[in-house]
Amino acid sequence: MKRFVTLLVAAVLLMAFAVPALAEDKTTVTFALWDENQKPVFDEIIAKFQEHNPNISVEVQLTPWSQYWTKLDAAMGAEKAADVFWMNTYLPKYAAARVLEPLDAYIAKDKLDMEAYVAVVRDAYIIDGATYALPKGMDTVQVFFNKAIFEKHGVELPKEGWTWDDMVTLATQLKEKTTVGEYPIVMELDPQPSYFNFIPQDGGFIINEDGTKAGFDQPGTINSYKKVLKLMEDGVMPDYKVLSDTKGTDLFLSQKAAILFMGSWKAMLLDEASFAKDIGLIPMPAMDASNVSVLGGLGFAMNAKAQNKDAAWELIKYLAGEESNKMQAEGKIDMPALISAQQYYAPNFKNLDASVFFKVAETGYFFPTSQKVAEWLPVVMDVSSQILSGSVSPEDGCQMIQEQMQPILDSEQK
């Protein structure tokens, strides 16, 4: 027992002293991310980076999503946060708290060409004129359809430039011919692949340009919910009970659905389906205003208290650069927002036409956010699920959201 304790103490001491001793003549940059599935590729990217920069050593810190933000916040307070970290839609909160390093001076110094990125994604990280992150990649939302089901029933395939009404017509024709348990249209009713697209498509908005007003009092916003509900009422889309228990993608994969509204993040899965050669891709149908769809994506941000900011910048520049994007694309973990690297992503698909993703990205708009998005987004999701399940009307539900969301946005202005 005694020997064991001594050993343990020795081991702890060793760990405490060994790490700094090893890193003595090198600059160490810490890099935090949350996705275990992407880590192997990032380990390779980091190895390459260290080859190019022998005097910088990078320590990758993996924290699971469920603890990532809590840990980042706590570490920020203790000034022990990673130097470089993944950032998502929470960016405005961190920018406002001045814990992120503005990157503009570094971009200017290295004459980095920011035009090389998809504009919407690049601009999402600019707040009050300062750039707080470089794009990691992006997600798009579009429509997947099963050609075989259309052809079997002799219904015309969706054509580019289609409208919501065109879709309803096609779906109604399909419905007349399908049997029980088959659905013309399916969706996953979380914001990004569904109503966050429909709201602006029908002329409403979630949050206005300068982030001061919630748009749930807009007629377009309310109407977009009504249109989704109408699909369920008409029986061309399964109702909320089915869609809430079983993912739309799973219904589509079991060949029970003809049209699927889905994000690019599930595209790899669809490409591996047994009937993948029958899957067509098309931008969303247009509602009254447009067919713009949501773009999501992550960025690489720098801690304002980073120990060695030049080294941290070198890492960010590399991570958002051509070689890293190529490795991420070929590793099938992210779709590049760096336009020149998109060519490496498309060949991943044996059956799907990946060019639709890039086309959709050109007109996309970034996932709506603000400083307190973590407070209002759960409200929007909570009430939206009540609207879509029919427990409250679209009018009442949107009013409920507006009444809770607007005060949160107001409190950001203080």
Binding site: A74, G77, A97, D190, V242, T246, L251, A374, E375
Partner: protein, 300 residues
Amino acid sequence: MRKRPENRLRQGEALAGYAMIAPLFIGLIVFYIFAFGQNIYDSLTNKSSFGVPDFVGFANYVKLLRAPYFYQALQNTLLYVAICVPLVVVFSVLVAVLLNVGVRGTGIYRTLAFLPAVTLPAAIALMWKWLLNYEFGLINAGLNALGIGSVAWLSDPKVVLFAVSMVFVWGGVSYQVIVLLAGLQGISRSYYEAARIDGANSLKQFRYITLPLLSPSIFFVMVTSIINVFQIFDIIYLIIPQYSSGTAASRSLATFFFEEAFIKFQKGYGAAIAVAMFVLILLVTLLQLRLQKRWVHYDE
């Protein structure tokens, strides 16, 4: 004069004793008592993601008392208690008594009954999530075969609370059965023999011997069940699909706390919710300790 070394010995023994409980005790102080005090302090601040929190007095409690979500979560939690606790108590007594009869293969039955207690809650929840699935679930398949039709167990706001309760009772009974079984083994056979000689049938034996003598164990089962149900979280978190329309109708106080503190990052407010839960559970437990005199018989 002779006492001295003995005293020293005793002191040494005491020290050794303290040293042995120290690891647990220090853990208790750091992770429970200190954290408890810290939580009360945090509930009086506007602690959020980072920065030094400001002291805001009782603002979080005022906000809590004005929040419709709080009352809904409170109502749901009380419903969980009202549904789950009686079912857990009745079923665990029933199962324990049946397992105590001593039929052939008792060991197998006891093992089966105890299985849910040693199964990961996540595994239990995932299994039930599939059983309760609207489209592909076994339960709905059974109901359809009986001609009753499918029930949206996890999405229908009217049903979802019962679905969660059902899973909780299923998983919650088995541990309590062990407690009750131990209690049953402690009841002397001679009482039953005497009763049989006096002509009491099994039902009467159960009513007048088993129940009173088992009451301390039943009391323990009740108190722990009530505390467990008041803190119900993992089952809800795991079986209710994200974005389900049943989210609001199944939200318990613990879920509400989790959402405010760890999704919306309002940690001060979350701390206030935790304090409210503590007070509530404390009051209910005190009430039970008070009431136990009326029905719990301790074997003197």
